[in-house]
């Protein structure tokens, strides 16, 4: 039980003043601007947007500055801010097949329409510290090459043509929304994908890794990973038609997994899916693997008791703000609770005869 206590106001004020000073650090070192964080720590900004579940790079950068780089604290700030804003509505589903791709790779097809586009990736770097970055300097412009305006189709679309992979036919259902109603089970796939999109990256990565190591293994290949800009359209009631209200960067991963099939249906590849706000491919791949593992029942697979198959377990523990809120509250004053525990243990020890008369008398 948490009980309100009085006192300590001065100590709290002073602690916060010191926090502000420590946040600033050595004043002989130039202060970071929000724009610098947004531009130069952009993957941290992207993570805060994805898990804060609010796309706004400036706000995420501000939150990172305020949180001294503690990304979970920054996500907390974004979640709290979000609740102060009115919601204008929901967008049309984004058309990821129309994405302007910065990156688009497939681990399953070498030659595919639209090609393999590496984009600004850490892949194939040697992971050696680059001490040149410790010195300031101009970066030469990246090479460019004439781009064909060709539409880049989804990889699964080719496999669909041969009927080799399960289809994902369009539906126009109204999805449940975790931000409007508490999590209730059973959770359909739409709710799971929302929960995973805002789930902690580390937790999701660990679960995805567990499926690769054999806890509900589903033999995933990255059929396609794409990162780029998509338009967001929304119906505007005053206008009577939909308009684009902006453009956002998203990361999408589709996995191609081993077979489903039944007496009536021939064997087919199955699919996992991950879509994340911003650029975050580790997260998108992780979500796709966990999404696929959670589909065991729908695909007629056995529940082998693996953590990633346990929808209730995953969805109840994937949110780092819920988790850290509950975890960290135990450090706040629990004096009354603890007092009763102390009395209890003293009584038990007396009854067990383990306590000298002197102590028991106290």
């Amino acid at each position: 039980m948490y009980v309100a206590v009085k006192g300590g106001e001065r100590a709290i004020e002073n602690a916060h003043a010191w926090l502000a000073e420590e946040r600033r650090g050595d004043t002989a070192v130039a202060e970071l601007s929000v724009a610098q964080i947004r531009e130069q720590l952009s993957l941290a900004v992207n993570r805060v947007m994805a898990e804060g579940s609010l796309y706004d790079p400036d706000l995420a950068a501000l939150a990172i500055k305020q949180a001294r780089g503690d990304l979970i604290e920054a996500i907390f700030l974004i979640r709290a801010y979000r609740t102060t804003l009115p919601r204008f509505g929901a967008s049309e589903p984004v058309e990821t097949s129309e994405m302007a791709c910065d990156r688009r790779i497939s681990a399953t097809f070498k030659d595919l329409p639209g090609g393999q586009v590496l984009g600004p990736t850490f892949d194939y770097t040697h992971r050696l510290l680059d001490f040149k970055l410790a010195a300031e300097g101009e970066v030469p412009p990246a090479p460019s090459r004439e781009a064909d305006e060709a539409h880049v189709p989804h990889v699964t679309a080719f496999l669909n043509r041969e009927g080799l992979i399960e289809e994902a036919p369009a539906e126009e259902t109204e999805p449940r929304d975790l931000t409007r109603e508490p999590l209730e089970l059973p959770a359909d796939r739409a709710l799971r994908l929302q929960a995973l999109a805002r789930a902690d990256e580390g937790f999701t990565l660990g679960l995805a890794y567990s499926t690769q190591r054999g806890y509900a293994r589903n033999h995933a290949f990255v059929g396609e990973l794409r990162i780029g800009a998509v338009a967001v359209e929304m119906e505007i009631p005053e206008l009577g038609f939909a308009i684009e209200i902006g453009e956002i960067t998203v990361t999408e991963c589709e996995t191609v997994n081993q077979f489903g099939g039944s007496k009536t249906e021939p064997p087919q590849f199955t699919r996992g899916y991950g879509l994340i706000l911003g650029q975050s491919e580790r997260k998108a791949i992780s979500v796709a693997l966990v999404d696929r593992a959670m589909r065991w029942e729908e695909l007629g697979e056995d529940n082998v008791g693996a953590p990633a198959q346990d929808i209730e377990f995953v969805l109840s523990h994937a949110d780092n703000i819920q988790a850290t809120g509950f975890l960290e509250h135990i450090k706040l004053p629990h004096y009354v609770d603890f007092q009763s525990e102390l009395e209890l243990i003293r009584k038990l020890r007396r009854e067990a005869g383990a306590v000298p008369a002197q102590e028991a008398a106290e």
Binding site: L54, Y55, D58, L59, R82, L85, R87, F88, S91, E92, P93, V94, E95, S97, A100, C101, D102, R103, Q116, V117, P120, A142, P143, S144, R145, E146, A147, E149, H154, E167, A168, A170, E171, E174, P175, R176, D177, T179, A190, L193, Q194, A197, A231, V232, I236, E238, L239, F241, A242, I243, E244, I245, G246, E247, I248, V250, Y273, L275, I276, L277
Partner: protein, 156 residues
Amino acid sequence: MAATLAPERPPETEARRAYMGLLARAAEGRAAALLAEAGLAQPFDWLRRPEIGTVMVRGRAGGTGAPFNLGEMTVTRAALKLACGTVGHGHVAGRSRPGAEAAALIDALMQTGRAEEVEAAVLAPLRAEEAARKSARAEKAAATKVEFFTLVRGED
């Protein structure tokens, strides 16, 4: 998928959709700056003062299947009325009140006799800037496109 489902709209609606999208995507402050530079702004009354809020962005499972809620984005909207009674609506990504005001004013002006001037002084430059920004990115991406060479295998 949506292309096949997209409703048939009259050409003037399509044109309005196109420039409203352009205004929503434009770099913060650009539309307002171009409008001020051209001296095209007119007095107006607010129907809805600029208001910051969010829109829940949706995706589809598997890219094409059932919709799900991906996460929100910040959006600022405004509505205003010119002295002649023409109503303009503005919606821009992010949290810029002047941006939403400029978008709404431009929408209103585009429905008046000043449309051609606004098109030339504001929309055409915004379109050119967006095209340059997009093609610069697409060209950098194209330079990272992998060219595969088939290697001769030893046993052949």
